[in-house]
Point group: C2
Chain length 354, copies 2
């Protein structure tokens, strides 16, 4: 008996596609993973802070992946004005991403005190733009803050912003803790969580000494993973896919100070089939990966892409590639090691975008 599943092409509401050669390698792989709508993070160098930058970046991405609908974000910083927010909204930019200072890749321009942004949040609320929060506070030894509790200690900030702007759509990105799940469930319909592929699979042990599993926020305790698994298994509509797929060449992972990020783009749906099957909720995959995010954001794919389907078949020896070369013309740029490299993921896309 062959087990197969056919669902609409997926939406990834948290994606890093980088720049230059890395962008050229990674972007065509979005569709390969079964994803047709991608919400793109703005933490480039320099960060995407202006509408024109976002549109120009979008154009680059669309040329590389014509079948994918891209939605763009701006990087929240003190330079972001209310006028720029309104302009961005009119140009179809869907959200603004906030990074706490120093917490993750290219977040040095990030922020700590949200009140200075209240005029911007007000404009976003009026425009229907989404606030995407990297929900961690910076480590602080005097106050017992470290990577293991940085998300939980951020949650009062999320609640405070929500109370101040109850109609502002807020996504707590890449949730990793039971505390985050509990809070977001408790808050109103305007607050949601994105959940990555890898945080449904990993715990702290998996990144202890394992650079390719090291990401920010770090994976936490078994009970935290269980809370993520339970909320997706429950079919809660405010918890949806955002992979946070973040490619780095292996030479900046397998080194003394590894860069943070897990690369899942090329195999998003096969990974998810495997994990949802393990959890025992394969029937919840379609809503999690395809519908809940679009519905929360109110975003559609571009014309002609509404009915694309992806079919996956369960089979043995679907081995994840060991690496992806960044550029065959420039081998010195290195290779990216994907999530679960060399492992049997057990599911394969047999028809894509049909």
């Amino acid at each position: 008996m062959t087990q197969s599943i056919t669902i609409p092409s997926a939406s990834d509401f948290h994606l890093h596609l980088r720049q230059g050669d890395m962008m050229r390698m990674v972007t065509p792989k979005v569709a390969e993973g079964g994803v047709s709508l991608a919400y793109i993070m703005p933490n480039l160098q320099p960060p995407v802070t202006k509408t024109e930058q976002a549109l120009s970046y979008k154009e680059e991405l669309q040329a590389l992946a014509p079948d994918v609908t891209f939605y763009m974000t701006l990087y929240l910083s003190p330079d972001l004005t209310v006028d720029e927010v309104r302009k961005a909204s009119k140009a179809g930019i869907a959200g603004v991403k906030s990074y706490p200072r120093g917490v993750t890749t290219n977040s040095d321009s990030g922020i700590e005190n949200y009140e200075i942004y209240y005029p911007v949040f007000k404009a976003m609320e009026e425009e229907g733009m989404v606030l995407n929060l990297h929900g961690e506070i910076p480590s602080d030894l005097d106050n017992d803050v470290c990577v293991m509790n940085a998300e939980e200690k951020f949650l009062p900030q999320l609640e405070k912003i929500h109370r101040a702007f109850p109609n502002l759509k807020i996504v707590l990105e890449h949730a990793t803790t039971s505390a985050a799940v509990d809070l977001v469930k408790r808050l109103g319909d305007t607050v949601a969580c994105s959940i990555t592929v890898h945080h449904l699979q990993l715990i702290v042990d998996d990144w202890a000494g394992q650079a390719h599993h090291f990401c920010k926020p770090v994976a936490k305790y078994p009970h935290d993973r269980q809370a993520l698994r339970e909320v997706v298994a429950s079919g809660h509509p405010r918890f949806f896919l955002g992979t946070d797929s973040a490619p780095h060449p292996s030479h900046v992972k397998e080194t003394a100070c590894a860069h943070a990020g897990v690369f899942t783009t090329p195999l998003v749906l096969p990974y998810l089939c495997k994990i949802f099957e393990d959890i025992g909720c394969l029937d919840k995959l379609e809503n999690f990966a395809c519908h809940f995010g679009r519905s929360f954001y109110g975003l559609k794919q571009k014309e002609g892409f509404q009915d694309k389907k992806v079919t996956l078949v369960k089979q043995e020896n679907v081995v994840v590639p060991a690496t992806y070369e960044i550029s065959s013309a420039q081998p010195q740029l290195g290779k990216v090691v994907p999530f679960l490299a060399n492992k049997d993921v057990g599911w394969k896309i047999v028809e894509n975008f049909c």
Copy 2:
């Protein structure tokens, strides 16, 4: 003004000196770090389970470091008999090391249920041998056990063994949590903790993506580090130095799956001066590094070594070497990266073993 400190040569009550070329590189560095008494772990390949093995290993080490007094341990396994314990004790072997199965380097022969060892513990108690516990239970997702709470969840085992054998000297090795500190303080005079150099310095953030700071047990929360710092600053006599210095070639650290271990042997006393100075308890260093451990164990240095002194001076630009080559004749064996490589440790041994 020159700041200097003169103390007796130190005792390291938890040391890995390996075998073969690594042993030949590392062992002479024990004295370089200001250490003249070393208590050697038995997790070789194969583990040291017999008196003869331990004595033959001791002979190898003494030939490489004639100024150092070595005390040996046996590896606790179901093969260890009461007769072997008595024989070992008569031969001067000072302790038996217990590793939970699968928790750290070469611990596959380790154990989980201590009651099967009660006859051995009884004999050790009678002989005055020390039980050295690697205090972690194996990770278990169903019971929320992971590397972050594996020590705390082990503590009931420690208490149970102590209650069964109140006169058995037990050392909870390389304590990393405030919970461990609290329990050991609460238990009687026969229970002690060794504390490493690196656990007085690191927290979880420091090994997140940083392979050279990855060790088992992993460094924990800021409040845990604070508890370790406070107990050494308090001058508690049952908390003393055991470095757990564990060299690995950099190619098995800077890779996808890093080996666990931090290498501190060549600079033990300079590191400790720096850390104790930062904590503000340089006056407590001598007891922690030189006296408390020997006193708990009741061990002496060999004849003629009682009065050796080490003088350290505080100065700038005492830069920790980037690497130590394992064998100049065999460069392919690689190099070991020491703790705080390329960093200014701020203290230098100017007279050693005088």
